[in-house]
């Protein structure tokens, strides 16, 4: 999968892209925007098309956001990420004051060390939405859409997007995240793409789900009866709309035109009462639409029905959780990786007690015959004595499943499949420093 993604990325970067290449590998098509020399677009499993540097490293932005007690991130055309090791908390997250000592100062890195700015050469010229800003040390940095660009020290291979994601962001409770930057999706007006664990979901401009029917033929709608049309609303194309790329237009009747994507006529579901719904897909023969599917989770995993919806679980049906953490410094550095300070996780998983943490929260072991499925769902080796990542084959190390390079967990408080007692355990309902279940669909 990773190789295919890489190849796809290269094809797209060479300008062979957009619709045709993306369709052949079921990847999200994008608008072929002008780029400075040395940059390209890489198609990724979770985030869709993203910009990358000449080495294939994903580019990120750090947009300024409002936290509970102030703002963090880059304002327009200015980088707030400096090559200085921050030593105190910023007091961004009520009710705690700032000025508390950050952990592991002897090994703490600066923002620049973990998020190297994408350097622009002195003779670089702005192109399209790409511009150049001057950093506080006088060096030049590329920006896109007025947002300074960075790479992540976590990304090692082309297509890796381990540094940050906007998938779980929610208001001022989550940290000020670094988010991958990519070209606009190739969509007609009135549509957009939303990232989900299930795939890059096609929705309308009100974020309501778009559906297709198995009963339709290529570029032909068979939803013409009153019974069908009482439930399904064809997504109409205006008179001036033209087919382009993966998008075509179905003539329902004289003057009534309907959008089709990959030759499948599109609908919204009359019974949907909220954005990004899956309810229409419960109707036999009807499906949500994805510009590209989500990364396949490990084959041994299961999906469990719970009172709150469908959740991802390991082979025995126990709910799996990811741990997420951002510190309260001005840098808003991640504390959810194995190379970051572990004090945050230990506080939540064991009340600061290492043994209790291990008793309550378990890594999800990978079977000997299981292999990584890409960079999103991968198998890593962990030294259980230190909880640090170990070299593969290191004595005493355990092979465990990871999501975005971070280990996932089960919770001992869950006794039966479908239980999710560990969900939201942590600071700010687990969004700031804690555990969240992998919800594939909620009620």
């Amino acid at each position: 999968m990773r190789l295919i993604a890489g190849v796809t990325g290269i094809l797209l970067a060479l300008g062979m892209g957009s619709a045709a290449a993306a369709e052949s590998s079921v990847r999200e098509a994008y608008v072929d925007v002008p780029m400075p020399p040395g940059f390209k677009v890489v198609s990724t499993e979770l985030e869709g098309p993203v910009f990358a540097d000449s080495r294939g490293r994903t580019l990120y932005k750090w947009p300024i956001v409002s936290l509970r007690n102030g703002y963090a991130g880059d304002p327009k055309d200015k980088s707030a990420c400096e090559d200085v090791v921050t030593t105190k908390t910023g007091g961004y997250m009520s009710p705690y004051p700032g000025g508390l000592g950050l952990p592991d100062l002897d090994s703490r890195k600066s923002c620049v060390a973990l998020w190297p700015p994408v350097v622009a050469q002195a003779d670089a010229k702005p192109v399209g939405d790409w511009s150049i800003i001057k950093r506080s040390d006088g060096t030049l940095q590329w920006a896109y859409g007025h947002q300074p660009l960075y790479t992540s020290h976590l990304d090692q291979s082309p297509g890796d997007v381990l540094g940050g994601t906007g998938l779980f962001r929610r208001g001022g409770d989550t940290p000020a995240e670094r988010i991958p930057v990519g070209p606009p999706s190739a969509l007609p007006p009135g549509f957009r793409i939303e990232g989900t664990l299930n795939g890059r979901m096609l929705v309308n401009d009100k974020r309501y789900s778009i559906y297709v029917s198995d009963a339709d033929a290529p570029d032909k709608s068979n939803c013409t009866t009153e019974a069908c049309l009482q439930r399904w609303l064809p997504v109409l194309a205006p008179e001036t709309a033209q087919p382009r790329g993966e998008w075509s237009i179905v003539q329902r009747s004289l003057g009534v035109r309907q959008w089709a994507f990959r030759k499948q006529p599109l609908y919204t579901y009359m019974r949907d009462t909220r954005a990004m719904s899956y309810d229409g897909g419960d109707e036999p023969g009807w499906h949500n639409v994805y510009a590209q599917p989500g990364p396949a989770y490990p084959k041994s995993f299961t999906v469990q029905n719970t009172t709150y919806g469908d959740v991802l679980a390991e082979r025995n049906g126990k709910t799996v959780y990811f741990y997420t953490c951002g510190d309260d410094s001005a840098d808003q550095l991640s504390c959810d990786t194995l190379d970051s300070p572990q004090q945050y996780r230990m506080a939540i998983c064991g009340g600061g007690d290492w043994a209790r943490c291990h008793e309550l929260w378990h890594f999800v072991p990978a079977a000997a015959d299981e292999i990584s499925q890409g960079s999103v769902w991968s198998i890593i080796s962990v030294d259980p004595k230190t909880d640090r990542q170990a070299a593969e084959g290191q004595a005493g190390a355990v092979r465990v499943w990871a999501f975005r390079g971070r280990p996932i967990y089960t919770y001992s408080g869950d006794e039966q499949p479908g239980e999710f007692r560990g969900h939201s355990m942590g600071e700010w309902q687990g969004r700031r420093n804690g555990f969240r279940a992998f919800w594939l669909r909620v009620i």
Binding site: P95, L100, P103, Q230, R356, H423, S424, W428, Q429
Partner: protein
């Protein structure tokens, strides 16, 4: 189909407005939950209700007292956050203010009149509501501006998790029925807002969630006396109430029962029983420490108070594990469609009172 359904609902609403005559057809009526508040008696005079003042040691205050000079984040902020999830790690450290007074809202759960019981505002003795003593002097729980009562209640109408339905069947009429069956379901549909966009109108339709909501289904038996539904307690009951986005929390009761004044349009009253202490603590701490600061409610301190005031269901050590409590609940009439009816195309079978 939607037009047809709307007409059906309208017709049914009109029939209901005529009184309980419409019940005769199906002997059933459904309601959807619109409001939940903890039942704590209060007057407009906070000094009278709480002569020692309102709760004074919340997360900000305890932090300031414990760490006046700050310190490493691991030993300060993270230490306090970890106590939220491991409250047994440290005993109570600060004074706690209890509600005084002898008037309380709730139900006489044990059928006795004890020294710690309240008298209801209407003069009924033996009201069991120890939770009122614990939280009655916390600003967060005082109405109308108390943050948890205010925002927690807002989620009742907006969260599908909180879409709890009550269906009463075997109804002779809404004034008196000797033997009725009460079933609790989860609904799948948004509530029907009235013209103001704020209130909930009767006459909406609710499909039962049989895919994820089966564990919510509970059966109670009861009777209607002078327009008041009184159910027998069930040994273990649950009532979903998420008070924050994407944090699905349940209230776990022992001896849960309902006491609701019924009309064709509304049902208002109490859910009462002994609240499992651990369940209640988990429910409340779904709010972040920041949110709990609104009412100066330090989670770890609160945990010990809750355990101390628990008054039922002792464990093997003799420690009480549940606390007497009550919720005020408001519901409006809704047509509850059952799964077999959902599958019908066109005209739908609605098991509520209609026509």
């Amino acid at each position: 189909m939607w037009a047809a359904l709307a007409v059906t609902s309208l017709t049914a609403s009109m029939a209901l407005a005529d009184g309980s005559q419409s019940i005769a057809a199906t002997r059933t009526i459904g309601y959807v939950t619109t409001d939940l508040h903890w039942a704590f008696y209060q007057t407009a005079d906070v000094d009278k209700d709480c002569p020692q003042g309102l709760a004074g040691y919340g997360p900000r205050e305890t932090f300031k007292a414990l760490y006046p000079n700050g310190g490493p984040v691991a030993n300060t902020q993270l230490a306090r956050e970890s106590l939220k999830f491991f409250p047994n790690d440290k005993q109570m450290q600060f004074p706690y203010i209890f509600a005084k007074g002898n008037i309380g809202v709730g139900v006489n759960l044990d059928g006795k009149v004890g020294p710690n019981d309240y008298v209801s505002p209407t003069g009924e003795k033996g009201i069991d509501n120890a939770l009122q003593k614990v939280l009655g002097c916390n600003a967060q729980f005082r109405q109308p501006e108390g943050q948890l009562q205010l925002f927690g209640n807002k989620f009742v109408r907006t969260s599908t998790w909180n879409r709890t339905l009550i269906e009463i069947s075997n109804v002779d009429d809404l004034s008196n029925s000797d033997d009725v069956a009460v079933t609790i379901y989860r609904g799948r549909d948004p509530v029907l807002l009235d013209a103001t966009g704020e209130g909930v109108a009767p006459g909406g339709t609710q499909r039962i969630d049989m895919r994820w909501g089966k564990p919510i289904i509970q059966h109670l038996k009861g009777k209607i006396v002078d327009g008041v539904l009184i159910t027998e307690p069930i040994k273990e009951g649950i009532y979903p109430w998420a008070i924050y986005n994407d944090v699905p929390t349940l209230l776990n009761w022992r001896d849960m029962r309902l006491k609701l004044t019924l009309t064709p349009e509304r049902a208002d009253g109490l859910i009462a029983g002994y609240m499992d202490v651990e369940s209640y603590y988990t429910w409340l701490t779904a709010w972040s420490t920041h949110h709990l600061s609104y009412g100066r409610l330090d989670p770890a301190e609160f945990y010990w108070t809750l355990r101390k005031m628990a008054d039922a269901y002792p464990n093997e050590k003799g420690e009480m594990t549940a606390i007497s409590s009550a919720l005020t609940v408001n519901l409006v009439q809704a047509f509850i469609t059952h799964p077999e009816a959902d599958a019908m195309e066109g005209g739908r079978k609605v098991t509520d009172a209609r026509h």
